[in-house]
């Protein structure tokens, strides 16, 4: 028996499946489902205000960490289209992240002085275009070859930036403006239409911390929470788009291409076109995340967009479960959040992180949340294996 795929009903998994059944029953009821989803969404928005014990990071601004986690989740969802749906291993995804950030940086600073909201759609369009330009020649190669070509792409983008004066070269670009504030912004008043207080856990019962408020909606360098709200909104929009596209002819074409490219082609799927589409859409989401990174940070430099980041993005998708958008998003949150949560371990945190990844690769190679159908297929496989095993025993 293969222990990875061991679906024998142990006590734990029986309890788990009972829980799933209960949850499934709950979700079958439409009003309940809508209510639960609404509660979940409100919770996600409120998370940085709640200052929950255990999960809140110590020593690092929790709002900032949450922004990073959401940015990584967004990236992972975008990369999941490429890796999880279309089955293309893209190791140069950081290139698109950089293109999104730099398009925003160039357009909003000394070259053009555009407002952020105008630069954002342009950044997305430029990244999408770069995805098409990169994909058109490279998607003709498959598998490992594609991985190597994309690996090169990620590095080329960074080197071009380093060596181009117009792009800020190695010094980078600073003073990237934030998105426009909403509401009055008089100095000394905190600004915004109204101010959202945080929750304090210092006393029992919890009290609302009136001394610590986040203005709605003021984008500044001190409080990252408005940026978090912005990127979470973008995340939900991307997720909805992802659901709509995946549950259509396009999603089927991607899956067929991933499963058997030749068979898909012979069933009338123009596989090249759909691979290119996956590449472009994935790139656009990466660019979106890059644009947010640029405006949140106010400063970008080529040193940020290292190849290592690409590998972290791929790790996020694989760890979370390639092919499952929620799994990928969770993986993104995890790879961004864990190193910050365990910052107190100082230099050891990367080791801990690496060990956690290895443990996952050994005990759960299909990811934390693999797509439901992968689970079904694995369960069936295990069942067959078991039957065959019995037959041999007899």
């Amino acid at each position: 028996m293969n222990r990875y795929y061991d679906f024998a009903p142990s006590g734990l998994s029986r309890g788990w499946s009972a829980f799933r059944g209960w949850l499934g029953g709950l979700l079958d009821n439409k009003p309940t489902r809508v209510a639960l989803i609404a509660v979940g969404i409100v919770f996600v928005y409120a998370l940085p205000l709640l200052n929950l014990p255990v999960i809140t990071t110590s020593g690092v601004d929790f709002g900032g960490v949450m922004f990073d986690a959401a940015a990584y989740a967004l990236i992972a969802v975008g990369l999941n289209i490429v890796i999880g749906y279309a089955g293309l291993l893209d190791l140069g995804y950081v290139g698109f992240y950089a293109i999104g950030a730099y398009t925003t940086g160039i357009l909003t600073t000394y070259h053009f002085h555009w407002p952020f909201l105008l630069a954002l759609p342009v950044a997305i369009a430029v990244t999408m275009l770069s995805g098409l330009i990169l994909g058109a020649p490279t998607l003709r190669v498959r598998g490992d070859y594609l991985a190597i070509v994309t690996l090169g792409f990620g590095e080329i983008i960074r080197l071009v930036i380093v060596n181009t004066h117009w792009l800020g070269a190695a010094q980078g670009i600073d003073n990237i403006p934030a998105p426009p504030n909403i509401g009055p912004n008089a100095p000394g008043q905190g600004g915004g239409l109204f101010q959202v207080p945080h929750l304090s856990w210092g006393t029992f019962p919890n009290i609302i911390d009136v001394g610590h408020k986040t203005p709605f909606l003021k984008f500044g360098p001190i409080d990252a929470i408005p940026f978090y709200w912005m990127i979470v909104t973008a995340f939900f929009i991307v997720i909805i788009a992802d659901i709509l596209v995946k549950n259509s002819r396009v999603g089927r074409a991607w899956e067929a291409t991933r499963e058997d490219e030749d068979a898909a082609e012979l069933m009338g799927v123009p596989t090249f076109k759909f691979k290119l589409l996956a590449f472009a859409l994935g790139a656009a989401v990466g660019g979106l995340s890059g644009a947010f990174y640029a405006t949140r940070n106010g400063f970008i430099s080529p040193a940020t967009f290292l190849l290592l980041l690409s590998e972290l993005f791929v790790a996020a998708v694989i760890v979370g479960g390639a092919g499952n958008r929620w799994g990928a998003a969770f993986g993104g949150v995890l790879v961004a959040y864990l190193p910050d949560r365990f910052r107190s371990f100082s230099d050891w945190r990367m080791l801990v992180f690496g060990l956690a990844l290895m443990a996952l690769a050994i005990w759960r190679p299909q990811g934390i949340f693999p797509p439901r159908r992968t689970r079904r297929a694995l369960a069936a496989e295990a069942q067959i294996e078991e039957l065959e095993g019995e037959a041999v025993d007899v």
Binding site: R249, L277, A377
Partner: protein, 269 residues
């Protein structure tokens, strides 16, 4: 099914003096035959005779070194594989190649999508066109699954279907592309006699629906029982062509394909 009507029918697919060389190996050597509209043509030959190569040149997987394949009058050379499918040639695979992580229904829908023009924008905004094509595809896929006899397992993953059902599902997926010509590559491989009987019935039903069928098969009883005409290949060359009865009597076929004396039926293997 009399021979006179068969001969006057229009040729749907013409294989015209096709030669394919892989380096020094000549897989097909000047093969010429045609498939007439509405007939079931059997393509037989011993292992390595070039049957599957012939198949692959028809579906655009290989390019002919010389010669031409024409479908409904237009040459197929230089055409992309998915375009050939859209033109009206569909196929199944000798070694089953379903999309394993997709359900039976979705597998067939991929075939049905071949003529869909719905793109990412239609899907994103759930346009009426998207909804129309989607529900049409689902309906068509369900109907085809029922037609081939796996209607009850539409929502199972393809990987979880039994071997026979997987073979039938491949036929449904191919039919969903609305082909004029359906090419079956050893559809009875691994079947028991009862399943073979059912498959023969299915192939006849497919033909009765107006499809033309090209059948590659090892099982002589099945080929003899279901085809209108048979083309026999050996070592990449056509050695005989005719009705099952004619082919059965052909001394070249008996010598080359059926082997010596006793070994009169390959079905045993």
């Amino acid at each position: 099914m009399s021979e006179e009507t068969t001969d006057t029918r229009r040729a749907l697919l013409e294989v015209d003096d096709v030669t394919i060389k892989f380096g020094g190996l000549t897989a097909l050597d000047g093969v010429t035959f045609d498939i007439k509209e509405g007939e079931i043509l059997g393509l037989i030959g011993p292992n390595g005779a070039g049957k599957t190569t012939c198949f692959n040149v028809m579906t655009g997987v290989y390019q002919a070194t010389s010669g031409q394949v024409r479908f409904a009058g237009s040459p197929l050379a230089k055409m992309q594989r998915h375009q050939i499918t859209k033109l009206g040639i569909a196929r199944t695979f000798q070694n089953i190649r379903l999309f394993k992580t997709m359900t039976a229904l979705e597998n067939v829908m991929v075939g049905a999508d071949a003529h869909s023009k719905v793109g990412v924008l239609n899907a994103l905004f759930r346009t009426p066109r998207h909804r129309r094509t989607e529900s049409a595809a689902i309906e068509e896929a369900r109907e085809l699954l029922k037609f081939v006899g796996v209607g009850g397992r539409a929502d199972e993953l393809a990987a979880n279907l039994s071997y026979g059902d997987q073979r039938r599902l491949e036929i449904a997926r191919a039919l969903a592309t609305k082909p004029k010509l359906l090419c079956l590559d050893e559809p009875a491989a691994g079947f028991n006699p009862a399943e073979k009987q059912r498959l023969m019935e299915l192939i006849r039903k497919v033909r009765d629906r107006g499809y033309t069928v090209l059948l590659i098969e090892h099982d002589m009883r099945l080929v003899m029982g279901v085809t209108d005409r048979i083309v026999v290949l050996e070592f990449g060359r056509k050695i005989a062509e005719g009705t099952p009865a004619e082919v059965r009597e052909n001394p070249a076929v008996i010598a080359a394909y059926l082997g010596v004396e006793e070994d009169d039926d390959d079905a045993a293997s």
